[in-house]
């Protein structure tokens, strides 16, 4: 079965510091991968998605960037964090036709920028 590992679970970072969140997938190859952000008590906002190694698409202009250095690895980064970057970040795998493309999510990262 497919599994998504996402870390760290919790992060407290000062304004202006760098960020690196990592997501890896097991049990599948060439997955479509997604980074979402969830504000407190709200829905999910798509930040980036990737359909293959080195292929990154951004949905919203922001202080963040993403990279896909390996087939099953998806990284969310920032050079200098802003207070507005605080939130709950979720990595997701887009599934297959067999699963009707329902997402499998990582366990999330709670980021607090202070």
């Amino acid at each position: 079965s497919q599994t998504i590992h996402q870390w760290p679970a919790t992060l407290v970072q000062p304004v202006g510091s760098p960020l690196s969140l990592e997501c890896t997938v097991e049990g599948t190859s060439n997955p479509n991968l997604y980074w979402y952000r969830q504000a407190a008590g709200r829905g999910l906002q798509l930040l980036f998605y990737s359909v293959g190694i080195g292929q990154i698409s951004s949905e919203v202009p922001q202080n963040l960037s993403a990279s896909r250095p390996q087939d099953r690895q998806f990284i969310l980064s920032s050079k200098k964090l802003l207070l507005s970057d605080s939130g709950f970040y979720l990595c997701a795998w887009g599934g297959t036709r067999r699963t009707n493309y329902g997402y499998t999510f990582g366990s999330g990262t709670r980021l607090t920028v202070v």
Binding site: R42, L46, E59, A92, N100, Y103, T104, F105
Partner: protein
């Protein structure tokens, strides 16, 4: 662009009773998928149920079922025999079947479900 609307920010249900969560969406496409996800206090997102738009039959997963009305663009979730463990935030989501969409999903703002013992 597609939009997903969940008009009920909060709902409550008595244990063992039935509750229905509403979702409407806006799209000009004919082929797509709809989902309900559950996010308990742990914040782990879990897929509850899925529906292909080309299927007229409503999906069912144990105590969870949907009422899919394609013409009305409505996709409600019914939870029967509610249990304390059903307490969570529920998200409705839309995914286009278009290849160019790259599998992106659009989520509603969620409905927080409280289950009273």
């Amino acid at each position: 662009a597609q939009t997903v609307t969940q008009s009920q920010p909060e709902m409550s249900v008595q244990e063992a009773e039935t509750v229905t969560l509403s979702c409407t969406y806006d799209t000009s496409e004919s082929d797509y998928y709809l989902f309900w996800y559950k996010q308990p206090p742990s914040r782990q997102m879990i897929l509850v149920i899925r529906q292909e738009a080309y299927k007229q039959q409503n999906a069912t997963e144990n105590r969870f079922s949907v009422n899919f009305q394609k013409a009305a663009k409505s996709f409600s979730l019914k939870i029967s025999d509610s249990q304390l463990g059903d307490a969570a935030m529920y998200f409705c989501a839309y995914r286009s079947d278009s290849y160019t969409n790259a599998g992106k999903s659009t989520f509603g703002d969620g409905t927080t479900l409280t289950v009273k013992p």
